[in-house]
């Protein structure tokens, strides 16, 4: 009946956000979200197991905060702050995270955060190559990603 309850719920919320909340829309939205999640079921995606779903708000908060911070940082750089010292470069980060959904979330986080960009993932070695706009300390970045995001994601998804 409900192959992906969380998905159905999200879709229902989306529906209500779009149409406004009325009882009628709740019914219609419910039908739509169930049908849509059946459609999803036919795609047989690797089903994510959200073990640590309670950690999600924390993750969202961290990410939003980091994004604001890095926005400011990048703007600062672009406005001309310490331009001559800045150098950008690639950093390869070995990951323990293997869950595709978790990786996707990590990729979204890294890419959405100004100043870092997800370049390439190598499933054989489990490494990800990222590009950092203002690369001062490579290990710092590896550390940041691994500890700040990956740990949390591993908890949530694996």
């Amino acid at each position: 009946m409900l192959p992906y309850p969380l998905l159905s719920l999200s879709l229902l919320i989306m529906w209500l956000a779009l149409n406004g909340f009325t009882f009628g829309q709740l019914i219609v939205g419910g039908i739509v979200s169930v049908v849509a999640s059946w459609a999803m079921a036919s795609m047989r995606p690797s089903k994510p197991r959200l073990r640590g779903w309670y950690l999600l708000p924390k993750l969202v908060w961290i990410v939003l905060y980091d994004i604001v911070r890095s926005n400011a940082a990048v703007v600062w750089i672009l406005l001309g702050g310490h331009r001559e010292k800045r150098h950008s470069g690639f950093v390869a980060i070995p990951l323990e995270l293997r869950d595709p959904t978790g990786l996707a979330v990590l990729a979204v986080i890294i890419t959405s955060t100004p100043g870092t960009a997800w370049m390439e993932y190598n499933s054989g070695g489990g490494t990800v190559l990222i590009h950092v706009f203002d690369l001062v300390d490579e290990d710092g970045w590896v550390d940041l990603i691994k500890n700040r995001y990956e740990k949390l994601l591993v908890e949530i998804f694996e």
């Binding site: 690639f90 959405s112 955060t113 100004p114 870092t116 070695g125 590009h131 706009f133």
Partner: protein, 133 residues
């Protein structure tokens, strides 16, 4: 300058909030695009538009939500969907493009980009052995 009659009944605080977010968001977008034009390599340029897709979009979404919520005196939240989906989908494009750029640079033998092989990575950078967690 076009006046906005329908905003006449908007309280001043709301107008101020909306204005701030509007200018902030569009300013971020503009900054990003400036960087996008001025930066010298593709890998640097790829960072610039994310200013717009992250808080640039976010600010304007907030501005819009505040504006319409106050105006129609009911919560109008559907703009948040735009924020969410932009955040979720933009990385897809960026990742695919970045990888394509990498491929092209590698096949042209550009020394600036790292080789495509985990085996050739310096040992100290792969702090832990790459294995299953």
């Amino acid at each position: 300058m076009s006046t906005i009659e329908h905003a006449a009944e908007l309280p001043a605080w709301a107008a101020l909030v909306v204005s701030v977010f509007l200018v902030l968001g569009s300013g971020l977008v503009l900054m990003g695009m400036l960087g996008f034009v001025r930066l010298s390599t593709f890998y640097e340029r790829i960072h610039a538009p994310t200013l717009g897709t992250s808080w640039g979009t976010g600010s304007i979404v907030i501005a819009s939500m505040v504006f319409f919520s106050v105006l129609s005196t009911r919560p109008v939240v559907h703009e948040i969907l735009i924020g969410i989906f932009v955040t979720v989908t933009t990385p897809v494009t960026l990742m695919l493009l970045a990888r394509a750029a990498l491929h092209r640079d590698r096949s042209e033998g550009n020394p600036e980009v790292p080789e495509d092989s985990p085996a050739e990575m310096p040992a100290e950078e792969s702090g832990e052995p790459a294995g299953r967690a």
